[in-house]
Symmetry: C2
Subunit: 283 residues, 2 copies
């Protein structure tokens, strides 16, 4: 991590690869009880948020991640009404979720209120649905929130967390997944960001194994480009209580809201994993 | 560009973003008449080739690029027999092209013999089809080669070049495209690597405009992940003399060779551009 010559470079040890941006100015910094949050203005990518030195998002490319963690799962569930987002403090996922008119309530539970406060200041476009009457913003421990959730009360759980170290470590194991499983209705779906499909297949396998121990029986990992994360290629993994992933393709085609990356055609295109991924995950 | 702390970081000025790798050792270096070629051994990505400081390929992720610059165009042309590769000195594209049993001859014309010599030493797996009797390896100026190509003699031209600066600059303009147009048969297709679909849409638009001035009438830009190139998201652009891009989906499904990323399903999935790309390219 350095900003020499006005470049911020994140060297990501687990993948042996680095991503960086040319920055113009440091706009903000706060040390919350959980982590250090920094905001830079870049020359080409708008604003940049770092958490403990790890790139979280840029203004320019966050739409890829936020669309892909939201729309595939919501167009897979037959009729998602009650959605819980664990993490997601920048509010970009909440905004995408609330584009679905059938969603009746969406609770975002991030442990760190400062992430949301920084997003409101430096990524206001991501927060423009925070006043939606269907939205509830909590700043609390997501592990405890899911453990205390009434059984069978939730249609979709979205785990929009940081990497599985630090505050997010507890969101990648059987106990947490068991709470999600219990909170979900019988046709409920869990979706979680699942790191790089090229460089972190072992992590995806481990996540699926933990989800399986918690009772989930069907899995689907969807890849998408995400330039600001290690390797520039990212994924979400869906886990279902029941069998199968019946994509509501017609509804996705007919959606009444705009997206910049997600389309029904693209969703259909990633339902079959690339051969090297399928082989590694024994799909 | 620096290798401090055993990390090689490429700061890419046009996109204001950087990509890097943790390296263990420098294995080789040669200054050819055209450019400086360096080889490093990385901790996680196998060997790494740099040309004038720009990351060209790694052992681990080059299959993405080589498959996507070869198979989509070859499964779009009705019956590709005669293929010309301009650039492509690492021989990885040639290898993919020769997997198609219908290809009768494939000429690779790279201006710099040293790229191929370095590939033979440090990426031997990419060169394992160089002795195929259908393969011809030339070390010559690709602009002149296409200008001297008999008219109407080629089914597919693949421009597998470096960025549009330095030796490759002449491969991104109307004059070169006019040579390709002339050399192609009436149903011929040109395909060229076309940089980042997120950060370099203006370049893709400019390329298409030059191709159009040369007579090409139909275009298709296909995105794919490529971690070692700026933004980690890359593209190829197909340009056709005639109309339409009739994907031979059945043949792609029934292909008798293995791929690690490319599938007929994936090819189908990228035929519709993401909305932000379609909008920028006015598709």
């Amino acid at each position: 991590m350095s900003t020499q010559d006005n470049w911020y470079i994140e060297r990501f040890e687990p993948t042996g690869s680095a991503i960086g941006y040319r920055v113009e100015a440091k706009l903000d910094e706060v040390q919350s009880p959980f982590q250090k949050i920094e905001i830079y203005r870049t020359t080409d990518w708008g604003n940049l948020m770092l958490i403990d030195g790890a790139v979280m998002l840029t203004s320019r490319d966050n739409f890829l991640y936020h669309e892909m963690i939201s729309h595939p799962v919501l167009f897979t569930h037959a009729a998602p009404k009650r959605v819980v987002i664990i993490g997601g403090g920048d509010c970009g996922t909440l905004r995408e979720v609330l584009k679905h008119p059938g969603v009746e309530s969406a609770t975002q539970c991030d442990i760190d209120e400062q992430v949301t406060r920084m997003a409101e200041k430096h990524f206001p476009e991501l927060c423009d649905s925070n006043d939606d009457p269907r939205a509830e913003l909590l700043f609390d421990d997501g592990v405890a929130y899911m453990a205390n959730c009434p059984a069978g009360s939730v249609d979709v759980v979205i785990v929009d967390s940081t990497d599985p170290v630090g505050p997010a470590e507890g969101l990648f194991n059987k106990d947490f997944y068991a709470s999600c499983f219990r909170a979900l209705k019988d046709d409920g779906i869990l979706v979680q960001q699942s790191e790089s499909p090229l460089a972190q297949l072992e992590l995806i396998k481990a996540m699926r194994a933990e989800m399986g121990k918690a009772g989930f029986s069907t899995f689907k990992t969807l890849p998408f480009p995400q330039p600001c994360y290690p390797t520039g290629w990212w994924s979400v993994t869906l886990a279902r209580k029941g069998q199968g992933f019946d994509f509501r393709e017609g509804d996705a085609q007919a959606k009444a809201f705009e997206t910049r990356y997600y389309t029904a055609h693209l969703h259909q295109g990633v339902l079959v994993a690339p051969p090297f991924v399928a082989q590694a995950l024994a799909e």
